[in-house]
Subunit: 394 residues, 2 copies
Amino acid sequence: MPENMLQGLPAPITSPPSREELAGRLTNVQARMHSAELDFYVSFNPVNIYYLTNFANYVHERPFLLVIPCEGVPVMVAPLLETSHVRARARCDLEYATYFEYPAPLGHNWFDVYGALFKDASSRVGVESALPIGIAERTPGTRVVVDIIDDVRLVKTPYEIGRNVHACQIVTLGHEKLLEICRPGVAEGAIYSSVSQLMMGRILADIPDANTMVCSAKGTVWPPSISHDPHRIPTLSMPMEQGGPHVSIVVAQVDGYGVELERTFFLGTVPDWAHEPFNAMLEARALAFELARPGAVLSEIDFAVRELIARHGYGDRILHRTGHGMGITGHEAPYVALGDDRELEPAMLISIEPGIYFPDQGGFRHSDTVLITDSACVSLTEAPDQLEDLTLPA
Amino acid sequence: MPENMLQGLPAPITSPPSREELAGRLTNVQARMHSAELDFYVSFNPVNIYYLTNFANYVHERPFLLVIPCEGVPVMVAPLLETSHVRARARCDLEYATYFEYPAPLGHNWFDVYGALFKDASSRVGVESALPIGIAERTPGTRVVVDIIDDVRLVKTPYEIGRNVHACQIVTLGHEKLLEICRPGVAEGAIYSSVSQLMMGRILADIPDANTMVCSAKGTVWPPSISHDPHRIPTLSMPMEQGGPHVSIVVAQVDGYGVELERTFFLGTVPDWAHEPFNAMLEARALAFELARPGAVLSEIDFAVRELIARHGYGDRILHRTGHGMGITGHEAPYVALGDDRELEPAMLISIEPGIYFPDQGGFRHSDTVLITDSACVSLTEAPDQLEDLTLPA
């Protein structure tokens, strides 16, 4: 089981990243570029650009491209319209390559400005696997598809951990509220509105100048009619029901740092059939917490958890892996999944959320945001996990 | 100037698309595939998948891929976790190719399932320019980068126009509220919260089972301190100021259909220097409305508008094109921009929003959502546009 959240956790951080923090991230990227013998690395993924610069953007037709040389200062390719926006948000050294507009007259398009940044056609240029092919085709030199920034993001810095600790306080608060107001007949929309507003209010109290482009806070419940279908988004008119299983999903991106907290719960009564899968889910979760420590192979954790669930007779009721990484986003590498044969390391951040699902009957899943420590793991989120505490008044 | 919005507009629609509507969109795509001699077309862009299926997803590490044959039913490549979600939302015929998880054991990954769908290695396969290179590299056959679905989306169906007419009613309502409550000292967050809630409430009253994954409604104001920087997102603690120019941005995606409405306005007093650029912006806007009709070349409209602004002495104060297309998203082709040499056609939907910006002093821009009719254009959004009506009490 998780260590107590109140002991020995890193302190929450709400301040923006220092120049040194961002310079350290760039240094890690450039070290990997050196190992891979790359002259340049191109980042298009807005999450990776945010990670290195503190500038957040939505992807639309005007591309932002961060061109990182193997040494020295990255160049931001951005439209004229956005240059002052980038300057206002970036907290690192940047050079700028500004293009006219999208589209633009001949010779003034993004690809004209972008292509001119690569010294010669023999450069080795690393690109993300997420790079759109329309941009890849405009990239000079020898292209190497490699997710260097994503790899650097796997292990969190102390600053990042402090931000995620704070974000987990927000979802912990939101989840308390959710359990307090979730009663039969209450509409999804009322829960969503109340929980989300509480969390956004706290975010803005703690970080008055939070960048709303990387802020969101959602508190939702999958009532029993859809809790078997973990990614079907509830409609806001859905009422909560007597009994269960209900599954809550409380997620937030708090000024750029994403976390989650989820619980399986019941209103008034627990159907007889639900006890056994609930307990199986609890056991699977406890096993995952026990196994999640430095040196553990991710696929082996998922294998062991699936085996345990299968021994309970629910092997064909599994829809997804045991967990996934978090950090800036609420969903990123590494994956606690068959097929991810990497090892856990200290300062990785993952969800632990094995689930069991019965079509048209309901689903069973708790999820926490969990930090890998030097020797074990600790949950940064906190909510009741036992059936008696999760059987609420009806 | 725009025709009166109350006369002769298509009726608003709030119902989901019929199977016939979606079948017609697919027919248009397959006709273009035939012309381009493609055996398959692959769609990854969630907007395009939504357009053809009514299923909306967020892009994360588990890819959804719609593989469209030149004849017959498309195949949705989706993770096991999401198959029932897709089935619950899709409103068209689909076949399914389900993969285990991301990542997955050898032989069970998305690319194993995906690659097997292409009959032989000699297929000609069309892909979107937005397709990630990591997916493009796993696509068999001869790849042709061509944005067929984006092209089909350029001209709206009567159903789509009805949805956008409804969405424009929502932002028109939100903008009325914004002008009513925007006074010096009021915080951005109070305006945002009030306007957004009003619009979301109306959306849910009109469409109780709206898909929240494609619903958003935002009402914001760029106060004079940042109105020169049109894409710098305000922080929620920013207070409104005496004078101006303030610039409002009210945008919504209403159960899948995106529109916008923006105004330049003043609180209490209009600074002397602001009259001339405000009038220049109004003239530029009137010219764009006059030129926006079937057969007009988009780049020529932008050229004429830029020329007019330059004649006023503000040629170096332009940061962006005259407008952009809308439809499902609030930002898509075609572009009213130098470099887009396509012609406007009836049933296209664009913004008209020429802007003039003075660093550290402020910006001037109105934006409306405008439908191209058989002979002219008509604004689907409605708000005051004259200085006297946009000088509010302080």
